[in-house]
């Protein structure tokens, strides 16, 4: 195969990361510091997620990597290739067949099940960061559960836009204790965080933090009594598969403002088309 150790990282590093993961699972939503390594990719490309995936992989695993829901975009393709080369594990695009799924900014539409691990790439793990720049102070705020400031951000949203305009990286409270940044997933995905049978792991490489949600953890999106949380999406159906309940990407199709909406989860969309569902612009039997 290659001269790399299994899954690129050396065994000691993987042990160190596993310890951080176990601690994260023991304290859901708490950001565990870990000694993040330099990876052969730039920060911002998923160095945290890759390290967590490397620490979780076994030779029997089947890996799926998605980037904004798609299996075939640059980030997904290169990370998948990276683990094919360094770990030699099987890969798949089907959510139901994967044992480990590394994701950038989406939760797959197909419900996850027990035994699966979902690894998120996190750019900024600290939900309070843009409100309080001092790390010492934000740690103190987590310690003492002083989360009023998080609502100031939501207040500002309503004051300025009339509704809570935060559409991604929407802050959540885990098991009524820690406020957590769910990574920049659309808030449409927030309800899927809660009570999920899969293990959810979050890795931030540059910020050197790992946090986790064990299976069936209660996760609540923050809101106001008179402005409740709403999992929003574009008010359309998928133009290829006709799905009305999946998160959509808006695609500009010409210079005159024409556009189409397609599922951001490519595996989900392809599966529906294979099953015979056809959207507004789809052609019957055209899947794959």
């Amino acid at each position: 195969m290659s001269d790399y150790n299994f899954a690129y990282l050396d065994e000691q590093t993987k042990r160190m990361i596993r310890r951080a993961i176990l601690k994260g699972i023991a304290v859901p939503g708490y950001q565990v510091p870990f000694a993040s390594r330099e990876m052969p990719m730039p920060y911002g490309w998923g160095t945290g997620g890759v390290q967590v995936t490397a620490a979780c992989l076994t030779p029997d695993d089947r890996l799926k990597v998605i980037d904004q829901g798609a299996d075939d975009t640059t980030n997904a393709v290169s990370i998948r290739k990276f683990f094919q080369r360094t770990a030699g594990v099987a890969v798949t695009e089907a959510t139901a067949e994967a044992t480990v799924i590394q994701t950038r900014h989406r939760i797959p539409e197909t419900p996850l099940c027990e035994g699966q691990i979902l690894v998120y790439q996190v750019p900024i793990p600290e939900p309070l960061r843009f409100l309080e720049p001092r790390e010492t102070e934000t740690r103190k705020m987590h310690e003492l559960e002083e989360y009023g400031l998080m609502h100031v951000k939501l207040y500002e949203d309503i004051a300025r836009h009339g509704t809570i305009a935060t559409a991604y990286a929407y802050p959540v409270k885990v098991e009524e204790r820690y406020v957590m940044d769910p990574s920049p997933i659309p808030k449409f995905d927030n309800p899927k965080l809660s009570d999920n049978p899969a293990i959810q792991l979050f890795g931030a490489g540059r910020e050197q933090r790992i946090y986790a949600l064990p299976p069936y953890t209660q996760v609540v999106s923050l809101d106001f009594e008179d402005h409740p949380f709403e999992a929003s999406k574009a008010p359309h159906d998928c133009d290829l598969c006709g799905a009305g309940d999946s998160y959509l990407d808006e695609v500009i199709t010409d210079d005159r403002g024409s556009r189409m909406y397609v599922c951001s989860d490519t595996d989900f969309c392809a599966g529906r088309r294979a099953a015979g569902h056809v959207g507004r612009l789809g052609q019957p039997g055209a899947a794959e």
């Binding site: 409100l131 003492l144 002083e146 009023g148 400031l149 609502h151 100031v152 207040y155 500002e156 309503i158 004051a159 300025r160 106001f224 009594e225 008179d226 402005h227």
Partner: protein
């Protein structure tokens, strides 16, 4: 019978100091920040602390508000020893029963957050989760400090210095604190704005029955606001008493100098 008992209870409660400071000392290395400071502050009372720059006024205020840890002495708030109080409790007090008005409004405000958000922050910190109520309360408080209602969504960076200072006061008083610390609240403002701010402060202190510790080097400010006065020099209290008594009949040499240094227009 019962009514009489209640009356006595109320009076006994009033007679207990809200803040009791006993021999507080703070050293910076071998230099004295402040030393041997002892006083009681009763509910509804305004205490002025005056003295020149470097006399230990702000150090003392920092010790009282819990920002600095005194090297000796005890501070009792409502009968509880602040030194023995844990940090969570102290931080809870400082955003519910206490307020701190900074000299520079920028230190006490969130400049990136609208005026309404600034006032609402303390409410949300103590658990308010209804947007409509928070906004109404914020609008009400902006009115009380004479900021026009249509400025509620503007950021403090768009406000004048005087408005920023009034906003800071509204932000601090919104949760109905019992004890307010003020560090040179009128510093850096021109005299007409100062006069209006003082007028406002005097009204609020009377209406809400606040206990206030106000640090300033401006004797006119304490003359208007303070019931009692403490004069500090080189970290020590050199004279204390009723404000009018201290200002009109200063006993200590330094106080005499201070009073005679005020320019007469």
């Amino acid at each position: 019978m019962g009514a009489v008992d209640l009356d006595i209870c109320a009076r006994v409660k009033e007679d207990r100091p809200l803040l009791s400071v006993q021999g507080v000392k703070k050293l910076y290395g071998s230099r004295i920040g402040c030393t041997d400071v002892t006083f009681d502050l009763f509910p509804g009372e305004v205490l002025g602390i005056v003295g020149e720059s470097g006399s230990g006024k702000s150090t003392l205020l920092g010790c009282l508000a819990g920002h600095l840890k005194p090297d000796a002495g005890r501070i009792l708030y409502d009968g509880r020893d602040m030194g023995a109080l844990g940090e969570p409790e102290r931080r809870r007090l400082s955003r519910t029963e206490w307020a701190f008005v900074h000299q520079n409004a920028r230190d006490g405000l969130r400049m990136g957050v609208s005026a309404g958000g600034n006032v609402g922050e303390r409410l949300m910190a103590v658990g308010a989760r209804n947007y409509g109520t928070i906004r109404d309360t914020a609008a009400d408080w902006l009115g009380r400090v004479e900021i026009a209602a249509d400025r509620i969504d503007d950021r403090p960076s768009a406000f004048s210095g005087g408005m920023q200072q009034r906003l800071q006061i509204a932000r601090n008083l919104v949760t109905g604190p019992r004890l307010v610390f003020m560090d040179e609240p009128t510093g850096g403002l021109d005299v007409s704005v100062q006069a209006r701010l003082l007028d406002l402060l005097r009204g609020l202190v009377r209406d809400l029955g606040l206990s206030v510790v106000i640090v300033t080097h401006d004797l006119a400010v304490v003359r208007l606001l303070a019931d009692r006065l403490m004069v500090m020099k080189s970290g020590r209290v050199v004279e204390q008493g009723l404000t009018d008594q201290v200002l009109d009949d200063p006993q200590h040499g330094y106080t005499q100098l201070l009073v005679s240094s005020v320019l007469q227009v």
